[in-house]
């Protein structure tokens, strides 16, 4: 297979503060004419010195920033970045969010002037209710972890309301659940009880039984988790947890492989969350913007963060009068443009399209698993489990690392040399040696997946034949390896030019002092 012969642009320009020359200007403006009155700046407010700005022409500034963008944003490759469910969001959906009816409104406007936006939020709530069986969704959370935190905060409000918060102090989860579950439960003050994976690839009922009891406030669980193995005992799990009095939360981070095939409510869960920036096609980048859609049963709805969008007759309004509400998770109603994009995605896909996307994502992953399995040196997680994985699974570079000393971080660096996004390794804790987690999803074509696998096979070969080439990668990128240790030395970096100047001056002073 022909692999991309890629090279990123590389510009070794100084920072903008060091560009240009005295007197250079972006544009030259004429002095004000006599007849124009010029406001006098009071003497006390006038600067004593000139601001230290770079003196540079408009063209040079344009050129410089174009170069920077080429180096930072220049690569659009194949990204099978697992656990992120990479999807393409159409320009049509993008255009919808640029319309003034959305782009120019403000949440402080009177709801009567926001009816269109509120209608979309309300209708999308309905779509998610259909996919989950829950009774009410809110979109305040700025991501999946924030939605998990919504659950932890809701559980706190729920148990406090019943006077049992002092007793219900524990949250039970799996070691392979997304780490935001234990982290947010701990942030909300709960003690975390993890369950280990056992021979079936998920925790045993026995372990669950030993963990739950009168202290259990809630169960937070993914199914499948990143290993891609569906826990068929999940109904029994929920039954046991509820028998112990606990609330049950379904983290739908891995929804792609099961969307439209199951309903969280039918499995017995009290609440769940979806990530609109993953499963529902809203774009993401640089850690945001994102939305964690949080839904729950009528019984838990009084504790939801306010406001909640409700429909009264033909009018949509914001319900803020919720005395049992846990309060705010985030300001206003969440990242509304992302909700609109997810709504557009769901409407464009339709129920049948969503079902088919789910099928494709599982088939694509199984195709990829088969092809990856043919490469010597890499190994699927839980190799003893013959069951097919769902929409993703974790893999291990362990055997190749033993053989060649090339680990998953080295490997990821080298992938970037082929114009392919480095793979996602694994959430913490790493229970698979030298992990990586690809996810094909329904977006990427067979050709894309083949090319991605082709790159993996090539780098495996390189690890054996020219390990130092892999170890010192990337070679074709705008910058090479970042020496992470510089972050430990405050002298080596600064957040602003002024701070940098100060640190540098301090250094020079120290040098002349010691000389």
């Amino acid at each position: 297979m022909k692999l991309p012969n890629y090279h990123a642009p590389r510009w070794d320009e100084p920072v903008v503060m060091e560009l240009g020359r005295p007197g250079a200007r972006g544009q030259l403006f004429p002095a004000p004419e006599q007849e124009i009155e010029v406001a006098e700046i009071p003497a006390a407010m006038q600067r004593k010195d000139r601001p230290e700005l770079p003196e540079i022409t408009e063209f040079e500034a344009q050129r410089h920033y174009l170069h920077l963008s080429q180096m930072t944003l220049g690569m659009m490759g194949i990204s099978l970045f697992g656990t992120c469910t990479m999807k393409y969001n159409s320009k049509t959906a993008e255009a919808a969010t640029l319309r003034p009816e959305l782009a120019e409104v403000h949440p402080y406007q009177h709801p009567d002037t926001l009816q269109g936006v509120l209608e979309i939020i309300h209708d999308f709530d309905g779509i998610l209710q259909n996919l989950s069986g829950m009774d009410q969704f809110v979109f305040q959370a700025g991501g999946g972890a924030d939605a998990a935190y919504t659950m932890a905060a809701l559980a706190r409000a729920y148990w406090a309301d019943r006077g049992e918060l002092g007793q219900r102090t524990e949250m039970v989860t799996s070691i392979q659940a997304h780490p935001c579950n234990p982290a947010t439960a701990a942030a909300a003050g709960f003690t975390v009880i993890n369950l280990p994976l056992e021979e079936n690839g998920y925790p045993s009922i026995e372990a669950l039984k030993a963990a739950i009891g009168p202290k259990t406030a809630l169960l937070m669980i993914n199914n499948p988790d990143d290993m891609g193995i569906y826990n068929p005992e999940i109904k029994e799990w929920v039954r046991l947890a509820k028998e112990a009095g606990a609330l049950c939360f379904y983290d739908h981070a891995n929804f792609n492989g099961v969307m439209s095939k199951l309903s969280a409510r039918e499995l017995g869960f009290d609440a769940c969350m979806f990530m609109l920036h993953k499963t529902f096609g809203a774009p993401k980048g640089g850690g945001g913007p994102a939305v964690g859609a949080f839904g729950c049963s009528d019984e838990l709805a009084p504790y939801l963060p306010a406001p909640v969008v409700v429909k009264q007759g033909d009018t949509y309004r914001l319900d803020n009068d919720r005395p049992k509400s846990l309060g705010k998770i985030r300001e206003f109603w969440g990242n509304v443009p992302q909700v609109v994009k997810a709504y557009a995605w769901a409407r464009a896909m339709g129920a049948e399209g969503i079902a088919m996307a789910s099928d494709i994502s599982v088939v694509a992953n199984n195709y990829m698993d088969k092809k990856l399995g043919e490469i010597a040196g890499i190994e699927i997680s839980n190799p003893h489990i013959r069951k097919r994985r769902m929409e993703m699974t974790r893999w291990s570079l362990g055997p190749l690392a033993q053989e060649t000393g090339i680990g998953t971080a080295d490997f990821a660096n080298r992938m970037a040399d082929y114009g392919i996004d480095p793979w996602w390794m694994s959430h913490e804790p790493w229970i698979v040696a030298e992990p990586f987690t690809p996810e094909a999803g329904e977006l990427w074509s067979k050709q894309d997946i083949d090319q991605w696998i082709g790159v993996v096979a090539r780098i495996v070969q390189e690890a054996r034949e020219t390990p130092e080439l892999v170890k010192s990668a990337p070679h074709n990128q705008a910058i090479a390896q970042v020496d992470g240790s510089v972050f430990e030395d405050p002298k080596a970096w600064a957040m602003t030019w002024r701070a940098w100047q100060r640190k540098r001056a301090g250094d020079a002073k120290a040098r002349s002092g010691s000389a």
């Binding site: 975390v192 009880i193 369950l195 963990a211 690392a401 060649t404 000393g405 971080a409 020496d483 240790s485």
Partner: protein, 370 residues
């Protein structure tokens, strides 16, 4: 950085011929009789070849002959050869080689647990060590995962590229070979060593910084110590995990032995079984334990001072187990083993137990009678 290299030329010979190790001259002779071939020299060379490729002319101080020089020559490395006496095929070779290497910052050795023990025992304090895995037994936390990985870690250190850091908390373990040949696994902690660790700074994009294992252990131990019940007897087992509990109480742990506390006071250090039993009265008994790396032993290995009677008084509910998630994830089976010498008690202990892994964080672990 001054790096010394030592090869234990007989390490690992037992493995291919069905022996469980080559501690002691009798075992070596037996291994040779069975046709064993030395593994450690060629494996050391694989590691050094990686170093030579990445850092040509890197300077190493090596012991003469088969203890080092033979395997390091002609790779383009800058060797400073020091000679010890003629090899005897015993642990004395390793100790003498360390002595003639003199002041080095770290020693790279090719061997197994036995060699690791000898190196750790002879090394001057503050010096680091790194094992090129060659032995039959490798339970110590001082080994790279492969000779190639060892070579890359060495190159990272020589290049000073910031990828490799250090930890002082690596456990040096060894298993009693005589017991192992008789079919009984008896790992024991011999001390802590300073080893290089390769930091993974790659995942910040989504994963955030990794939780530091040492900080997690200290936080777990502090919380466990704060929850001490007044009047209860706290028996603290060997190892750095249980030792963190003693530290949280403000005491330096014996580390290789068992210490006993009540109400924050240390009653006895490095106690024997009868001494521990002498403190039993009608007040509750709690036993603070770590887990042996890899094998996952909880009771009955290296902590036999804690007798079945004492364990029975504590019961499963009275065990306070400390281990980081990192350590639990390296266990060869997702279970903890007990062998108290009393099969009925072992059965009583079987089931699930909470292992504290961090502040406010526990892992349910299956306890199995071994």
């Amino acid at each position: 950085m001054q790096i010394g290299v030592i090869v234990n030329p007989i390490a690992g010979m037992g493995g291919t011929v069905g022996l469980k190790g080559t501690d002691g001259p009798d075992a070596v002779a037996e291994a040779l009789r069975r046709g064993a071939e030395a593994q450690s020299g060629p494996r050391a060379r694989r590691a050094l070849a990686i170093l030579a490729k990445r850092c040509p002319r890197a300077r190493l101080r090596v012991a003469a002959g088969s203890l080092g020089q033979c395997w390091a020559s002609d790779l383009g490395l800058d060797l400073d050869v020091v000679s010890a006496g003629p090899p005897t095929g015993t642990a004395r070779d390793t100790r003498e080689a360390i002595a003639v290497l003199g002041a080095v910052d770290m020693v790279v050795f090719a061997g197994g647990d036995g060699t690791a023990r000898d190196v750790a025992g002879a090394l001057s304090s503050g010096a680091g060590m790194l094992g090129i895995p060659c032995g039959v037994k490798m339970h110590s936390g001082v080994f790279a995962v492969s000779p190639e990985s060892a070579g890359h870690i060495l190159a990272d250190l020589v290049e000073g590229n910031g990828r490799a850091g250090w930890t002082d908390e690596a456990e040096v373990m060894d298993i009693d070979e005589v017991a192992l040949r008789a079919g009984r696994l008896a790992p024991r902690l011999y001390g802590l060593a300073r080893v290089p660790v390769v930091a993974n700074r790659m995942q910040a994009a989504k994963g955030g910084p990794r939780r530091d294992s040492a900080a997690a252990l200290a936080a777990a131990a502090h919380e466990c110590a704060r929850a001490c019940e007044p009047g209860a007897l706290y028996i603290v087992g060997p190892g750095s995990s249980a030792g963190a509990f003693a530290r949280a109480l403000g005491h330096e742990p014996t580390l290789l032995g068992v210490d006993v506390f009540r109400d924050g006071e240390c009653l006895v250090q490095d106690a024997t079984a009868p001494r521990i039993e002498s403190f039993l009265d009608d007040r509750p008994v709690r036993i603070v334990l770590g887990v042996t790396g890899q094998q996952g032993f909880l009771l009955g290995r290296g902590n036999q001072q804690i007798s079945a009677d004492v364990i029975r008084r504590a019961g499963r509910e009275g065990l306070r187990v400390l281990a980081t998630e990192d350590k639990l994830s390296t266990l060869s089976a997702a279970a903890l083993f007990v062998d108290t010498g009393d099969p009925d008690l072992d059965q009583e202990l079987a089931g699930f137990i909470r292992v504290q892994t961090d502040r406010g964080r526990f892992m349910m672990m299956r306890v199995v009678a071994s």
